[in-house]
């Protein structure tokens, strides 16, 4: 991979990574035909993982972050993009998911979106992708807000284009909640600016260390932290601020759901980790703050309560949406425990969950493409008609349970080790027990699709087309592969965790 030669463009990869999709979005608005827009997007998105892999390899090789100064302005005044192990890793995840969906998207979009809106849909997809990559790559708190808004606004459109009438309501609710979240975040950033006079993450952390000595400044900093954590918790759908998510995922078009489930919450999680650990962590003693305890309680609640909701759900997309809330709970649990192993587990789960959940939603998208529904009643017996699709679904589902031999096991293993290290033995059991609930909800849908007599809708269904099966099986295969080879997930995560944990005091 390091053989990839970018020539003169190499030093500019960080900015190219963000600008390529955004310009792609711009151009695709001029393309009236959905197919052409899709072709353009395909080229754009396929180039992104190559860029991010190059960045990741470079960072891993040198061990030093890559700093890219926009317009060559120095840090406190200009905006810098900073690529370190953590951000490069998350960039890889997001750009990979963004790319792998595209070959699948052609047929799905053609079936679910009306022709005039298709190129707009692709525009929004690319814009959202660019925004998410921007959140991760930027080293500037306000710039992150801008990208957060870019991705959020395009997400609202992506959801609203769903065929179901409730898509509009879901999009509206997400718009309100997303705006509240973004507002909280920017209020927090504003307070930080008040305290320190800077927006650059590195600069912020340095100046905060001295500023918090003053009690007034300390209070403002704590309030800022509260606003930022709650705002981002809303974006990443941490329980109990997840309520916008099930409907948004359930009623969005299939491609949007698969894309958002794999990437959107992950970018918000990244930003939260970045702000809490790299900015506040160096200034305030994290252990003394209530934030980790609060996150711990909320993530445990998410792991159980959202999983129970998934058990009783009769709409497969909503079921997976609740499961996403639960899985975000796992990631945040690792963040809250804040030790090396747990953080490794959390970061590894960012990639593992993105891959598994995208695979699951792609499989459902294929089902929707064939029978126009993802209700259990319509999906019964579909496994006999679409065995390849549902087999991939089953593999990813087994991964979600955390079975050894799949990537889900790796992340949960590290999480559990992290819980042991933190001395929270009961949490170890809770991790294992909540995995059991996922066995129930995955088992339930497995029973429906494989063991029941085919419903009228399923009886006439055909296997999904190859363009859908290939991305789906690629992800399902990765779920198993990453269960054994963890160089790209857990090993990189461990390095990133070292830096994060090393930074806090």
């Amino acid at each position: 991979m390091s053989a990839l030669n970018w020539g003169a463009a190499e030093p500019h990869l960080p900015i190219l990574l963000v600008m390529t999709p955004i310009f792609g979005a711009l151009f695709s608005t001029f393309l009236r035909r959905g197919v052409l827009a899709w072709l353009l997007a395909l080229i754009v998105t396929l180039s992104l993982p190559l860029m991010s892999i190059t960045l990741l390899l470079k960072v891993l090789e040198t061990g030093q972050p890559i700093i890219y100064k926009i317009g060559n302005w120095d840090a406190p005044f200009g905006i810098v993009y900073k690529v370190d192990q953590l951000s490069a890793y998350v960039l890889c995840v997001i750009s990979f998911i963004g790319a792998v969906i595209l070959p699948y998207a052609r047929r799905s979009i053609a079936a679910e979106i009306e022709e005039p809106a298709q190129s707009w849909y692709i525009t929004m997809y690319l814009l959202c992708l660019g925004g998410l990559l921007g959140i991760v790559i930027t080293g500037d708190a306000f710039n992150a807000f801008v990208f957060l808004e870019i991705s959020s606004l395009s997400t609202y459109v992506l959801i609203a284009l769903g065929r179901h009438r409730r898509a509009l309501l879901a999009s509206y609710q997400y718009l309100i909640m997303g705006t509240i979240g973004a507002t909280f975040y920017i209020i927090g950033v504003g307070l930080l600016y008040l305290v320190t006079g800077t927006l650059n993450f590195d600069d912020l952390s340095q100046r905060l260390s001295t500023a918090v000595a003053d009690p007034g400044m300390r209070n403002a900093t704590l309030t800022a932290l509260g606003f930022i954590v709650v705002g981002l918790a809303l974006k990443l759908a941490l329980f109990p601020m997840h309520v916008w998510l099930p409907n948004a995922y359930a009623y969005a078009p299939s491609v949007a759901t698969a894309f958002l489930a794999g990437t959107a919450t992950k970018a918000a999680i990244y930003l939260l980790i970045r702000v809490v650990f790299s900015v506040f962590g160096t200034a305030l003693s994290v252990e003394a703050l209530p934030i980790p305890d609060l996150l711990l309680v909320l993530s445990l609640a998410a792991m159980f309560l959202a999983s129970f909701s998934a058990v009783f759900e009769n709409n497969a997309k909503r079921m997976l949406a609740y499961s996403s809330v639960a899985q975000v709970g796992y990631i945040m649990l690792g963040v809250a425990l804040a030790n090396q192993a747990s953080m490794t587990g959390a970061l590894a789960h960012i990639a593992n969950h993105a891959i598994m959940k995208t695979a699951l939603f792609l499989a459902l998208g294929a089902v929707f493409y064939r029978i126009g529904s993802v209700l259990y009643s319509d999906m019964s017996g579909i496994g006999r008609k679409m065995p390849l699709t549902m087999a991939a679904f089953a593999i990813a589902g087994i991964g979600l349970m955390g079975t050894p031999g799949t990537s889900g096991f790796i992340s949960k293993w590290y999480l559990a080790i992290g819980a042991i290290d933190a001395g929270l033995y009961s949490v170890v059991f809770m991790i294992v027990a909540s995995s059991l609930i996922s066995v129930v909800y995955i088992g339930r849908i497995t029973e429906v699709v494989w063991f029941r007599e085919p419903s009228p809708a399923a009886a006439t269904a055909k296997e999904a087309p190859l363009s859908m099966l290939i991305p789906l099986w690629l992800l399902a295969g990765l779920t198993v592969y990453l269960g054994f080879d963890t160089r790209l997930t857990a090993d990189v995560s461990a390095k990133a965790a070292d830096i994060l944990i090393g930074g806090i005091r």
């Binding site: 704590l222 009783f312 054994f484």
Partner: protein, 564 residues
């Protein structure tokens, strides 16, 4: 890689092909060939650790062949073959797949060299075997299957938690001697103990096994508990606490077995009692004792399967195995009767039958290590076994009062399976050397010494005499289910009261516990559904206003907590 495949995988993958095969004949031949292939393949494997797979920084050893795992592997494959033959007449592929996957995962677990592989196969045994219970397709089987599944999967969960702690302590996941000193060791022991039906952890066994299908019970009786015995022998050999646990296990089920009327449930109790012998052997932990455990597991699987098969044949033909409703079946089912008696003689450890040559190893080991009270308990238990499995089962089913029931002899495939098992029982009893050669340790042991034979015969003849006398004099007519209690001079008078009391106590407590659990579970389910179902608080769509409200509340909480 192919040459290092765990033989269990052959059965599991092979099982998945079964539904695709057309016709009963082809399916039957295929299922018969499958364990034979696995057996031949196992024969070809060298001793050692193979099939290593790198799972991030841990190495899985998916195939470990040593003498201990081989004994269990061989007997599991033999049991698989017997189970398949016995079930050939069943048209329902669902049971065949479940049975083969179950057998394959048990074999896979036996050859697992590390805890993760063990855990995976451990859970597959749990999940696949429950289908054998559910295949009865009635509501009580569904209910007890669910209880069984929860307990079995729970055992796996505890195992995994234990493994996590073990890994944290030692940095290794290799499955070797564990020891009970650490927290991890205790957790794993509980996980094994659940599957091994330790006292107070045993109720799932008597609950679920008699509910399974005719053929399912035969499979169930062979694998789950013996897998646990293997795991205990591997991890906890010489752990003292196992001696009293095992001794209690041998003794207490006798009381229940004696008064139980469902003959398959009687066998389930005696299964528990036989496990006790093996657990004692593991607890003693000497080479002789461990050999005894392995040998006893080997023989036990065969004769227990034989007994379950004969009772299964009765259930299949007559439709009931209630002791009080049977009797006189020897006229209709002479072969089944003969095979049942052979199984009964083996479990009672008659000289020249397989139980004798394996049980005496454990008894000798207990004596040799000076565990006199344990030895005495085992002796008492032996007498008890003789009386409830050796006499009660064949007597009530095939002789006793003629129930007037007339039926056909068991199907041919069942008879063949029983004949093979019976041949093993006698063959091993007469000529135990091949089995002794298989055992994990090189111990020269001669079962047929004058002393052993005489002791055993005394015990048996005395019991038999008592039984005969009581029957002849009609003191305890067979209609009273507690009759044959008194065949045994160990607990002649107080035994009956104790047993009756114990039974009442047991049924009351267990039913109360089960009912409470079911009620509780229903309540929890309802409450969960109320809150998490589509109309529930966590399942329905919230109004935007309340979403915003709760976000604000969280913000307030965070900020206030930060200031505190």
């Amino acid at each position: 890689m192919m040459s290092e495949l765990n033989p269990g995988i052959i059965l599991i993958l092979g099982a998945l092909v079964v539904p695709l095969l057309p016709g009963k004949l082809l399916r039957g031949i295929y299922m018969l060939v499958l364990p034979v292939i696995a057996f031949a393949y196992l024969q070809s494997l060298p001793v050692g650790e193979m099939g290593q797979i790198q799972l991030f920084d841990m190495t899985l050893v998916t195939l470990r062949i040593d003498k201990l795992s081989l004994v269990f592997g061989y007997i599991f494959l033999i049991a698989t073959l017997l189970g398949v033959i016995y079930a050939l007449h069943v048209g329902d592929w669902y049971q065949h797949v479940a049975g083969l996957v179950y057998a394959g995962s048990a074999i896979g677990a036996v050859f697992a060299g590390d805890f993760i592989t063990l855990f995976v196969f451990w859970e597959i045994t749990a999940i696949s075997s429950v289908f054998l219970v559910w295949a009865s397709r009635n509501s009580s089987a569904m209910a007890s299957g669910l209880r069984y599944l929860i307990i079995q999967v729970g055992s796996g969960v505890i195992l995994l938690a234990g493994v996590l702690f073990y890994f944290r302590d030692t940095g290794s996941i290799a499955f070797n001697a564990i020891g009970i000193e650490t927290f991890a060791g205790k957790l794993i022991l509980i996980a094994f103990g659940i599957k091994c039906a330790f006292p107070l952890l045993h109720n799932w066994l008597q609950d679920a096994y008699p509910e399974a299908t005719v053929t399912g019970t035969v499979m169930l009786s062979a694998f789950t508990t013996k897998l646990a015995v293997y795991a205990l022998a591997r991890g906890y050999a010489g752990t003292e606490i196992l001696i009293p646990i095992g001794a209690v296990m041998t003794a207490f089920p006798i009381f229940y077995a004696v008064i139980e009327n469902d003959l398959r449930r009687v066998l389930a109790y005696s299964l528990n009692n036989q496990l006790g012998f093996m657990v004692v052997g593991i607890g003693i932990g000497t080479e002789l004792a461990l050999n005894g455990t392995a040998a006893h597991a080997f023989c036990h699987i065969l004769y227990k399967a034989l007994l379950f098969m004969s009772m299964g044949a009765v259930l299949y033909r007559v439709g009931t195995v209630k002791g009080s409703e049977l009797g006189g079946l020897y006229r209709s089912m002479p072969w089944t009767t003969a095979f049942c008696i052979i199984g009964a003689a083996s479990i009672s450890a008659f000289p020249l039958f397989s139980g004798f040559i394996s049980k005496s190893l454990i008894m000798s080991a207990a004596m040799k290590e000076g565990h006199f009270w344990v030895w005495l308990t085992l002796l008492f238990a032996s007498a008890g076994v003789f009386h409830h499995s050796g006499i009660k089962i064949p007597y009530f089913a095939f002789f006793a009062h003629d129930s007037g029931k007339r039926c056909k002899e068991a199907p041919t495939n069942m008879l063949i399976a029983m004949a093979i098992a019976a041949a093993f029982c006698i063959g091993l009893g007469v000529y135990p050397d091949p089995l002794y050669a298989l055992l994990p340790y090189d111990v020269k042991y001669v079962p047929y010494t004058l002393e052993h034979v005489v002791t055993q015969l005394q015990l048996l003849l005395f019991s038999a005499l008592a039984f005969t006398v009581l029957m002849r004099t009609g003191i305890y007519p067979p209609e009273l289910r507690s009759t044959n209690l008194d065949t045994d001079w160990f607990y002649r008078v107080p035994g009956r009261h104790l047993a009756t009391f114990a039974n009442r106590f047991r049924s009351l407590t267990w039913e109360w516990l089960a009912d409470t659990a079911v009620r509780g579970a229903t309540k929890i389910h309802d409450a969960l559904y109320r809150h998490h179902g589509p109309e529930g608080l966590f399942g329905r769509t919230w109004p935007t206003g309340s979403m915003a409200f709760w976000t604000t509340v969280t913000l307030g909480a965070v900020v206030i907590l930060s200031y505190l």
